[in-house]
């Protein structure tokens, strides 16, 4: 069985009782949900829909993690009102894990704060909830109605998906990162080939992919159209959980990872040799409009953005800082840096990274989604051209309908903002 099939099978519920068994691919099953992540959507469509059920409880308040991250701190009266509606709901229904608005972006915060563990089933009211699959669990995004169903019943139906397997080998060359791997897959397979399918990552090359790197790739499963992404657990996974103080405080030092069985039926298996991947970039207006960075060299920019749940990790900030150290942002550019969580922000301060960014002329913001979705703190105007470490460059996503966004790794963004135009990270090889 594939990893996804095993995890879903372990969580089957029949007549309100957990009854693990082997599910068929394509079978529709009810699955117990271990964690539901909700953010501003709680004050959006979730609260009014839940009201229609006229329930004075949520079934498992201890299985909900709630935080605010998209519009924090609130940039407008409607956003503040939305936050208040969400907070009222969380308090009324006695949510056990109310994290507030100062922890950071949901997909970074949940693993960091120890809510995610191997073998679990997690959902989130956000399409990038696929991210948690980096940590060897089943996780996917759902809409407001599905969240209401889980609030009321603790379970949700899923069709057991067909899976395919990316078998990773070798290691990246200098200047190439997880973002380039995600863009490589998008270039090859587009945004619709994997709709409803599960993407499983295994192989000898995983030992060269940090948890942060896997996080980036699982995050962009949303752009690949997949239902979920899942990385096989290895020594790096185990070490990561052991070193995570929040996790061990919540769950102890042991994890129960899931590996694909030899009998796993994969739709196809594709070998990916990391050493063959070059620095890549997605041009406007689709994440699969991917070419080598070399083909865009010289494109004039007005903004760079380093942050988001895709590429706002400490590892990402370290890479960007290596390149930006001792340089200044081109005068025609602004560069926004947002650590994806407050914990990352604190560590970046301790390591002196924030100082490097500020001295280079970057604007460093508090941990929020902010410019990633054109929410606030860096919305693009009509003629803006942005290079961003985020995951989507749809028309209008980061602001004006006419603005353009390119997606690339933190290294490519950092190199580019120094020159005010798209620049290869390989020009900075000596510091990487």
């Amino acid at each position: 069985m594939s990893m996804t099939q095993q995890i879903l099978g372990n969580h089957i519920v029949e007549k309100d009782t957990r009854k693990p068994r082997i599910p068929e691919i394509g079978e529709i099953i009810d699955v117990e949900i271990d964690i539901t992540m909700v953010h501003e959507q709680l004050g959006g469509r979730i609260a009014p829909e839940y009201k229609k059920l006229e329930l004075d409880y949520v079934k498992y308040p201890e299985r909900i993690v709630y935080l605010l991250d998209h519009w924090v701190p609130s940039p407008s009266v409607p956003a503040a009102n939305m936050h208040n509606r969400a907070n009222q709901f969380a308090r009324r229904y006695n949510f056990k894990h109310i994290l507030g608005e100062n922890k950071g972006i949901c997909h970074t915060v949940l693993p960091e704060q120890g809510y995610i563990y191997p073998g679990m089933v997690a959902i989130g009211s956000d399409s990038h909830s696929t991210t948690y699959g980096a940590y060897n669990c089943f996780s996917t995004g759902v809409g407001a109605t599905d969240v209401c169903i889980v609030f009321a019943t603790g379970k949700l139906w899923f069709k057991v998906p067909e899976s395919l397997n990316f078998s990773i080998s070798s290691a990246f060359q200098k200047g190439v990162y997880a973002k380039d791997l995600a863009l490589y897959i998008l270039q090859k397979h587009g945004t619709e080939e994997f709709i409803y399918r599960s993407l499983e990552y295994t192989g000898t090359g995983l030992k060269n992919l940090s948890m942060e790197s896997r996080h980036t790739v699982a995050n962009m499963c949303a752009e690949m159209g997949g239902k979920n992404a899942i990385f096989e657990s290895d020594k790096i996974t185990e070490q990561w959980f052991r070193n995570n103080f929040h996790f061990t405080a919540r769950h102890g030092t042991h994890i129960h990872p899931v590996s694909p069985e030899p009998s796993a039926e994969y739709n196809f298996i594709e070998e990916i040799n990391l050493a063959e991947i070059r620095p890549l970039i997605a041009k406007p207006y689709s994440p699969d409009n991917v070419v080598e960075v070399n083909e865009c060299i010289g494109t004039e920019l007005t903004q760079g953005f380093i942050g988001s749940c895709t590429n706002g990790s400490l590892e990402d900030l370290r890479i960007a800082a290596k390149i930006l150290k001792g340089h200044t942002i081109h005068p025609n550019n602004r560069c926004i840096v947002i650590p994806a969580s407050t914990e990352i922000y604190l560590n970046a301060m301790k390591e002196g990274l924030i100082e490097i960014f500020l001295k280079a002329g970057c604007i460093v913001g508090p941990s929020t989604c902010g410019p990633c979705f054109g929410g606030h703190m860096g919305i693009l105007g009509d003629e803006d051209v942005c290079i961003s470490t985020t995951n989507r460059n749809y028309r209008g996503r980061m602001g004006s309908y006419d603005a353009e966004a390119y997606l690339a790794s933190p290294a490519t963004v950092a190199a580019s903002v120094i020159h005010g135009k798209i620049t290869s990270p390989l020009d900075y090889s000596e510091v990487l």
Partner: protein, 166 residues
């Protein structure tokens, strides 16, 4: 509901949820604002042009992107009867069914349908007929589970009924 007949509005490939309901209107507490701005970069004032019962036919990956259910809510408010697309993004598809709107993915269908065509969808036998050019397309008929949800007006009314029973 065995036969759905309606006039078509066509959309291209990869119409994402940001194009359906731009994020600028997500914080509003008045959902009508979202309806008024839906698809505004594709068809200006779409909500004034569309009539209840109309059908949307789109290219690949319709509804890609964010999980915002607002993007389906506005379709329901406009009275869209069914979505037919070359392919439909996963979360969007779930959201459609959950809010009680039928949706079908038929690879290549968008090539054979024009704005204003009249389609007839036979939901029992799984056939879409374009009355304007007489072309027919087959699809896997809907499961009973899905038809129950649609008949009851979506997943929330359905769940309400279930909870009452217990």
């Amino acid at each position: 509901m065995e036969h759905i007949r309606g006039k078509v509005w066509t959309f291209g490939d990869k119409v994402d949820t940001d194009l359906i309901v731009p994020h600028a209107y997500l914080t509003t507490d008045d959902p009508q604002v979202q309806v008024q701005h839906a698809f505004e970069s594709i068809y200006e004032k779409f909500y004034e042009k569309v009539t209840p019962g109309d059908i949307i036919v789109a290219g690949i990956n319709f509804g890609a992107g964010s999980s915002r259910e607002e993007a389906v809510y506005v379709l329901k408010e406009m009275g869209i009867s069914i979505i037919i697309a070359d392919s439909i993004a996963r979360i969007f598809y779930r959201n459609l069914i959950n809010l009680g709107i039928l949706a079908i993915g038929i690879p290549g269908v968008s090539e054979h349908v024009k704005n204003g065509d009249i389609l007839i969808v036979d939901t029992m036998n799984g056939i879409v007929t374009n009355t304007s050019n007489k072309k027919k397309f087959k699809f896997q008929p809907f499961s009973d589970q899905i038809l129950t949800l649609i008949n009851e007006g979506g997943a929330i009314p359905h769940l309400r009924k279930q909870l009452r029973k217990h």
